[in-house]
């Protein structure tokens, strides 16, 4: 076990030899590019289409292999396979578009049809190839599940160049892509060519899918464009930040996943990368400060306590009994109520204070309705903690509350 860890750390820190380092850098660049472009694919609601695209690459890959082995005698020439993949992916995308436009089928049905048909064709062709070219097709099945074993310097270079191009486009076209995803009518009215923006987005996605095929495999490459943005969404409410975070998550997850696969050589790279990304997603889902599940639960709990405490104390100030069990529990914990339900001296004092606070909050709501609506903490926390002191004084003077002591 510790040996495994030591190996993993060696790989992660690029000390496990030239080949492993090459794979890690390549995977991270690919993951980063996929995560960045994935944000816009997700926001444009194109994640499913991208799934169809990746599955549609298979028949192209196999056909390209057949052609290449016939004409060049080397079926595994990567560039030929990638061109084949891109070609049939474009066909797949066009098929989806065509079905949606000219039949009454909805997009999800069209995607399902195209995805499975292309994949089926690919599988049949693959089996054919395997029976004809025994041995020669060895690399082909890598395209389905991915492998980093044979990643060459040229492959890494190709990934780097593509990642660079994707990054450039994301920077230069950030505003346009944001408009496209958020409000397409507005983009059109402003004179942006939304059709060509859509094509640009699809092209970048295609580029990432095709160059990622061999490393991650066509079944999983699309996860690279989906999981990082979904995870990033937990951390931010801003598109620009989402792009940065998704790029970071994509790169980190791929780096780590590739390192894992270099140590556990018999496990598939694509699967390890995607599982790593999923772990990051899970962590984000749980611990992200604003939208994460834990933070959400915590905030809710806190909110509930505040409301119960306030309502309980207000009831006491009006000399009404407190019936709600949770309210009772909270007030008892704070020693405002005794075990038998009687109000303590502290309880009376706190109730007085809370009543005054509520009067001030109500006055504030009357005087500044819009600001009060915009406040998240209206009537939840003591008013002095939320709005400026001079405003509180002004309000209490207006209410002729004599001698307000702000700090107690």
């Amino acid at each position: 076990m510790s040996e495994f860890l030591a190996e993993l750390i060696k790989a992660l820190t690029l000390q496990a030899g030239y080949n492993t380092s090459l794979v890690l850098v390549g995977a991270a660049l690919l993951g980063g590019a996929a995560g960045g472009i994935g944000v816009f694919v997700l926001l444009r609601k194109r994640s499913l289409v991208s799934d169809a695209i990746s599955h549609a690459t298979l028949p192209g890959v196999v056909l390209a292999f057949m052609l290449a082995s016939y004409f060049f005698d080397d079926g595994r020439a990567l560039w030929a396979l990638l061109i084949g993949a891109a070609f049939s992916a474009v066909l797949g995308a066009l098929a989806v578009e065509w079905i949606v436009r000219y039949t009454r089928l909805k997009e999800d049905a069209a995607i399902g049809t195209v995805l499975s048909t292309f994949f089926a064709l690919g599988i049949v062709l693959l089996t054919l190839v395997q029976s004809v070219y025994q041995g020669g097709q060895a690399g082909l099945s890598d395209f389905i599940l991915g492998s980093t074993a044979g990643l060459l310097y040229q492959d890494a270079l190709l990934i780097a160049v593509s990642a660079f191009v994707v990054g450039l486009v994301l920077i230069f076209k950030f505003k346009e892509l944001t408009l496209l995803c958020f409000d397409i009518t507005f983009a059109k009215a402003q004179g942006y060519n939304v059709a060509s923006l859509d094509r640009l987005l699809l092209f970048l996605l295609l580029a990432v899918v095709v160059i990622g095929l061999k490393t991650v495999g066509l079944v999983l490459v699309i996860a690279l464009t989906i999981i990082p943005p979904v995870a990033a969404r937990f951390w931010t409410e801003r598109v620009s930040h989402m792009v940065l975070i998704a790029t970071f998550i994509g790169a980190l997850g791929s780096w780590f996943g590739a390192a894992l696969s270099s140590v556990a050589t018999d496990l598939p790279t694509g699967g390890l990368i995607v599982l790593t990304l999923f772990s990051i997603f899970l962590i984000s889902l749980l611990v992200a400060p604003k939208r994460g599940a834990l933070a959400h639960a915590l905030r809710h709990k806190l909110f509930q306590r505040r409301v119960h405490e306030r309502q309980g104390l207000l009831a006491i100030s009006r000399a009404e009994p407190v019936f709600d069990p949770l309210t009772q529990k909270i007030l008892r914990k704070k020693r405002f109520l005794r075990a038998d339900g009687a109000v303590t001296e502290e309880g009376h004092q706190a109730a007085q204070k809370m009543a005054r606070d509520q009067v001030l909050w109500n006055a504030y709501h009357q005087a500044y309705p819009i600001e009060a609506l915009a406040l998240e903490d209206w009537s939840l926390r003591p008013i002095e903690e939320v709005i400026p002191k001079d405003l509180v004084e002004e309000l209490s003077e207006e209410l002729m509350l004599t001698k307000v002591r702000l700090v107690q």
Partner: protein, 272 residues
């Protein structure tokens, strides 16, 4: 019709006080071969605020969209301050009847308003502090400055409407086209926004508003376009908004009984 309106403008002030800023001619639009607008021509003048009035389904929204090329037109052209639509995009701010956006989008109210500035920001410019302040002041004009940092999905319907109004204001356009901006907005806000629009016309901008409330049209607007598939009337309110014209626009739906010659859109509608 346009001759009439120009005539009236001259009468009113003694000279031609404003030029044609928004000029649509011969606009015909069909959805699936069903004509929705038939040969509509319309002119709006700079420095004036025009109401577009007509019953539900009259084609008011379609008119705005088609004049901006957002839905395909069979025939027709739009000129903005003498320029063809293509060259004049930056001079138009359009606010649709219903914003069809993803309400869960990672954007705050301020971010949305900032999008109104994108067109002027230019290639590779990122929003700066200056742009933020500009956007904030637009939010302030619709009383929404306090909500600047809220994610847009967490606003009420009326508040969302106001954010999109602020985005239109941020565009600093010459011609403002607004499709029922007051729908779902409370009276106080309507007042505030209306003052803002008036202020725009005082600067010589052109404001065109689809408006449903016949009672307030007379008080609030300078000119009117009465439309029901065809143009019924177009010109200064006092000149063209007669009971007769309204009857023809609403073809009996305002409580008048349909009598005499069936005209324009009413006739077509009766036969389709």
């Amino acid at each position: 019709m346009s001759a009439l309106s120009k005539q009236s403008l001259i009468d009113e002030t003694g000279f031609i006080s404003s030029k044609v800023a928004f000029d649509v001619s011969g606009l015909t639009v069909a959805y699936d071969r069903k004509p929705v607008l038939w040969d509509v021509s319309f002119q709006a003048h700079s420095g004036r605020i025009t109401a577009i009035v007509g019953p539900n389904g009259a084609g008011k929204s379609t008119f705005l969209k088609a004049s901006l090329g957002l839905v395909p037109a069979v025939t027709g052209q739009t000129f903005i301050l003498g320029e063809a639509l293509k060259e004049a995009r930056k001079n138009i701010a359009y606010m649709p009847q219903r914003a069809s956006v993803d309400w869960d989008f990672p954007a705050s109210a301020l971010d949305v308003v900032m999008m109104g500035l994108y067109g002027r920001m230019g290639f590779l410019r990122w929003p700066s502090q200056h742009h933020r302040e500009q956007a904030l002041s637009c939010l302030d004009q619709v009383d929404m400055a306090d909500f600047a940092e809220r994610q847009i999905g967490q606003l009420s319907g009326g508040q969302q409407q106001r954010v999109f109004m602020a985005r239109a204001l941020a565009q600093e356009a010459e011609v403002y086209l607004m499709d029922e901006p007051f729908a779902g907005v409370d009276a106080a806000t309507e007042n505030v926004i209306f003052k803002t629009l008036k202020a725009l016309t005082a600067e010589g901008k052109t404001v065109i508003v689809v408006h449903h409330d016949l009672d307030t049209v007379r008080k609030m607007f300078d000119d009117v376009l009465l439309i029901n598939r065809q143009v019924i009337a177009n010109g200064p309110i006092d000149d063209v908004m007669s009971d007769e014209a309204l009857r023809r626009t609403y073809s009996g739906r305002l409580g008048f009984h349909k009598a005499g010659e069936p005209v324009g859109g009413a006739a077509v509608q009766a036969h389709v």
